[in-house]
Every structure is written in C-alpha cells, then in structure tokens.
Symmetry: C2
Subunit: 196 residues, 2 copies
Amino acid sequence: MKIYGDLKSGNCLKVKWVCDALASPYQWVAVDTMKGDTRTPEFLALNPAGQVPVVVLDDGRPLAQSNAIIRYLARDSDLLPRDPYLAARMDEWLFWEQYSHEPYIAVCRYQMLYLGKPAAARDPAKVERGHAALALMDRHLADSRFLVGPDCSLADVALLAYSRVAPEGGFALDGYPAVRRWIADAERALGVAPLA
Amino acid sequence: MKIYGDLKSGNCLKVKWVCDALASPYQWVAVDTMKGDTRTPEFLALNPAGQVPVVVLDDGRPLAQSNAIIRYLARDSDLLPRDPYLAARMDEWLFWEQYSHEPYIAVCRYQMLYLGKPAAARDPAKVERGHAALALMDRHLADSRFLVGPDCSLADVALLAYSRVAPEGGFALDGYPAVRRWIADAERALGVAPLA
C-alpha cells in the first residue's frame, strides 16, 4: 500500500500511526501541499477533493478521508471495538473530530505553522470553538482513560492527531489536565513518540 | 428508540429516513434548538456537544452525530455495503459531507431559513465552497447512479439531506443536472417524498 501524505499533517499521521501500530507495511509518498502536489491531474484522479492523506491499495484502488482510511485499515483489529454500540460511540468521536475540533484547532495551527501568521491573527470565533472542543474532551477524559471505554481505539487516534500539537495553533494545554494525561496514555498505547 | 430532533434539520432527517426505510419503530421527540432545548442539563447529559440529532436506545444508552447514528442503525442492512472497500468509500463520503458540504450549504441555509438573513448576507467563502462541493458531486454523479456504486447507501442518505434543500441556502441547482437526477433517484430509493 502507498500512503500519500505530509508528515506535518495530523490527518496524515493518523494513517501512519495505525499502520505502524498494526505492523502493516506501506510505502510513504511525501506530498507537498504548499507546492501544488495535490492539484495535479494525477493526484485529483486519486482524490477529487484534492486533499491528503490518500492511500492506494495494492490492487490500485484509492481511498481518501483520514477517518475513513483508518476505519478501513483497522477494521479487524482491536483499535475498532467489536461491540456495535462501542463502535458507534467511536464513530461519534470521529465525526465530532472532523466537525468540531479539526476546523478550529488544526486550521489555527495551519495558519501559524504553514502560513507563518502570529497567534493574534487567528479568527476569535475559531479560537473560542477550539477551546470549547478541548474543554469538552477534558470533561470526558476526567472520568475515562480513553475516549471510548477502557481501551485505546480509533477515536483516540483521530483526536490525538491535532490535540497533541494544539499549542502549535496557539492553544495552550495547561488548563486541560485530563487531555494532557490522555495524550501521554494514547501515545504510549499507540507507540507514538512524545513530542520533544 | 427515541429520536430527539428537528424536522427542518437535514442532520435529523437522515436518522428519520433510515428508520423509515428500514421500518424501525421510533418515537420522535421534537426539539426546538432556537428555544434552548439543546442547552438544558438533561439534553447535555445525552449529548455534551449540545446538538441534534440524538437517539436514545431502548436500553437508555444515547448516541449522537447523525452519521454515526445512521451507520449504527443501518449496520445490518443493504444501506451499508457488505464489501469492506465499498463501506470505506461510503465512509469517505460521510466524512466529506461533514467537512466539505454541511459547513457551507447547511450553514448558509441555517442563516437564511432559521435566522432570516438574505442570500446576499452569506459569507462569500462559504458560498464558493458550497458550490465547489456541489460541483464535485455533479462530476461524480455524471458517471454513477448513486454515490457508491449501483445501489443506494448511507452516503446518499447523508448527502441528500442538505443537497435537496440547497436552494433554501441560496444554492440554485440548475447548474448541477447530475445532482438533480440523483436527488430524484435517491428520494425514490429511500421512500422520501420529493419537495413540493
């Protein structure tokens, strides 16, 4: 399998982490979104939405959308709960991540890390909603080791991606002790090296 | 099962349509988001994100996020492809819907239909991205009867919800003939009455 991705992108790292945790072999194809690599006809044929990550299976079939990819790759593993209700609670977090977390925290990080803007230039509405997302997670994680029950699941993979680098988007994690505890636990469970 | 929802909300209608298509019994609990019904302690206990739809299963367990709910309810039905790759392609559309379609088309519709704003007051960036979403769907549907292969799936449920009412958000569908053809096919397949 090939993974087309950018190692600074949390969405791309989700796919790498799952492959590494499951010891699934892959070839990483570095894509530079800032240089237009995702706007070429070849790339758009793989993903008309023009976004990374994209995987191409060994039989040539493509798949896009980070959370759809990790759900497919982990379908027979312990990262996806067997119990249908627990799997649904995991899906709840996956969709919440893409609607209520990524558009605020990852987008602010993008503006600072990729575009070089200062924290003060962030959209105040995005800052407020990003903090609301972290606060919701912190309340939940105060009573729960991982996001869905006692074991690490794809919900933790998906939320770890941008929560751990939230400070790069100007979101200090000092006020979210349960999130900080969970980041360490999730990194350990997934075999992801902590940030320096 | 109880469905807490608002019949004007596409996200809520997704859940109703799936239950109706599968002949699954439910009790509809009308929630008025404009009157603060989703901000009460009782509602936030069901969904800390304070959003509809929420379902409460017969054993009392709650589930939120429209696409997570329909994925759970339809898990053993023909609306969810048995083939893992086709299921993953369906998931790709579900996540794309929440990230690249709903935040533009549904949000513009919300501003016009719920808040009474004129079309001219819409954020130009949201208008542009909403049209980009419809254009992507139109190109795909020119060659495909439904979004994932020959049969109606949850991908069609999820995208039908706000595509059919896009004109209420100021997005005329005249320029998207494949989307218009597909709306009629998806409504027929799901037993959803066309809009007057």
